[in-house]
């Protein structure tokens, strides 16, 4: 069996383990979804009731809700929170660190994807925007955004895992780094919803993709150091 295949299997095994633990009823994903919904509701109260203004602001509100809820979701990716300490055991073996990172990040991305799609639907309903007509580029944006937040979140979860004041440090470190992703995702969403009048959708999606690639590489490259003595 060649090395990349072994690594992929390890990553998938870790992701599957996390998924099983999640499905077995930690209910964290459900709470995160409800949190996002509440955030959207509050946005409505804060910026409404003018529906034109809310529709205009919808792309921004969507991604703000996703990012804030995402920070909460990422808290669960903390390295040491495996029930049987399997991950710590794994770290003792010469398993390539990027495989561990990939596994944890897969879990993070999956959660963010679910979050993004649900919030997209909610925004469509709450702020009266037609997501059906532009579903393809919107889906692409959500996928790229989810990958970025998941990758970055997994990384900073590992950075802050044994840190004092970690509840505030995680968002404090993560959110500035996510600024370009937020910008790109909001712009792409707005362009998609408007029918891409200036032809800028492609450029924004490329920015998102570039961000994702760079952050994944950075995370994978440094995860080993974090596991060792981070």
């Amino acid at each position: 069996m060649s090395a990349p295949i072994i690594e992929a299997r390890i990553a998938l095994a870790i992701a599957r383990k996390d998924a099983v633990a999640e499905l077995r009823g930690r209910h964290a994903t459900v709470s995160t979804l409800f949190f996002a919904a509440i955030v959207l509701l509050l946005f409505g109260f804060a910026l409404g009731p003018d529906s034109a203004r809310l529709a205009d602001a919808a792309p921004g509100l969507l991604w703000l809700a996703v990012v804030f809820a995402g920070v909460l979701a990422v808290n669960r990716l903390h390295l040491l929170e495996t029930d049987d300490g399997a991950l710590e055991q794994l770290a003792l073996y010469p398993v390539p660190r990027r495989a561990i990172y990939a596994g944890k990040a897969l879990g993070g991305v999956a959660v963010m994807l679910v979050l993004g799609l649900v919030v997209l639907g909610a925004v469509g309903v709450l702020f009266a925007v037609d997501i059906g007509s532009a579903w393809a580029p919107l889906l692409a944006t959500v996928v790229l955004g989810a990958i970025g937040i998941g990758a970055v979140g997994t990384f900073y979860a590992a950075v802050t895992v044994r840190l004092r004041a970690r509840e505030v440090m995680l968002p404090l470190l993560m959110l500035p780094v996510l600024a370009p992703l937020l910008l790109g995702a909001v712009k792409a969403t707005a362009a998609a919803l408007a029918g891409d009048p200036f032809g800028e959708l492609g450029a924004w999606l490329q920015l998102l993709a570039a961000f994702d690639v760079i952050m994944i590489v950075a995370g994978a490259a440094t995860y080993g150091y974090l596991l060792e003595d981070g």
């Binding site: 470190l173 910008l183 760079i214 950075a218 003595d229 981070g230």
Partner: protein, 237 residues
């Protein structure tokens, strides 16, 4: 000793360029006296980015060589970098109010990027504060510093796009002072100020590095003292 000379030269050049920038150089035809702010503003911005480059590289140096002196350099760069970043933002705002009429302009990519730079490195410094073990602290900081450094070009790029696609009226630009066609005296004053500030930066970096090394030594002593007292308590039993 050499550091003291550097400090003195830095002080003299800063004083000189400040006087020139404030009083000697003529005001700009379009932007008036406010344009004078550009000299220390540009200088500060340049040093902010230089400092963070140093922090990122020094962090990589730590990860590679495991020499804590590299981490001290990284710390110096970050603390001094945050200071210059704040100066750059402050200068930008003081310039913006008379020129744009507002303290903040979201369409200015440099201002927004620099604000984000501040956020990234304040986070870096806070992270350092929360870790007591020097080696763990160095590793965490190095990694966060590298990712932050990698993020900056992305931020800058995306904000440029953000601005570019929404070019409404031409906003008065701080770039005028960087225009090669600008009057020679402006360019000279700018270069002089940048040079003076850079000398100051060098002096500050050396001193902050020394302080960091001293603090490390004290931490080490404190830890040894603790160990000794624990041991003697055990022995006494």
């Amino acid at each position: 000793m050499k550091t003291r000379v550097l400090g003195l030269v830095a002080f003299l050049t800063v004083a000189t360029t400040t006087v020139i920038g404030l009083l000697v150089v003529p005001a700009d035809l379009n932007q008036g006296d406010a344009q004078r702010i550009m000299y220390p503003h540009v200088a500060s911005a340049w040093l902010a980015y230089l400092s963070f480059g140093v922090t990122a590289v020094a962090g990589i140096g730590w990860l590679w060589k495991r020499d804590l002196r590299m981490d001290s350099v990284a710390l110096a760069g970050a603390e001094i970098g945050v200071m210059f970043t704040f100066f750059a933002i402050w200068g930008g705002m003081m310039w913006g109010r008379p020129i744009w009429g507002v303290f903040w302009q979201w369409e200015d990519p440099r201002l927004t990027t620099t604000a984000l730079l501040l956020a990234l490195y304040v986070g870096y410094l806070l992270l350092r504060r929360l870790t007591d073990d020097p080696e763990r602290r160095a590793t965490r900081a190095a990694i966060v510093g590298v990712v932050a450094a990698v993020d900056i070009p992305i931020v800058h790029f995306s904000v440029e796009w953000w601005r570019g696609l929404h070019q409404t009226a031409t906003i008065a630009s701080p770039d005028r002072v960087l225009d090669p066609a600008a009057p020679g005296i402006f360019v000279l004053t700018l270069l002089g100020t940048v040079g003076a500030f850079t000398l100051t930066w060098g002096y500050l970096m050396i001193r902050r590095y020394q302080l960091a090394q001293l603090s490390l030594a004290r931490e080490e002593t404190a830890r040894l003292d603790l160990l000794m007292s624990v041991r003697s308590a055990e022995v006494a039993r």
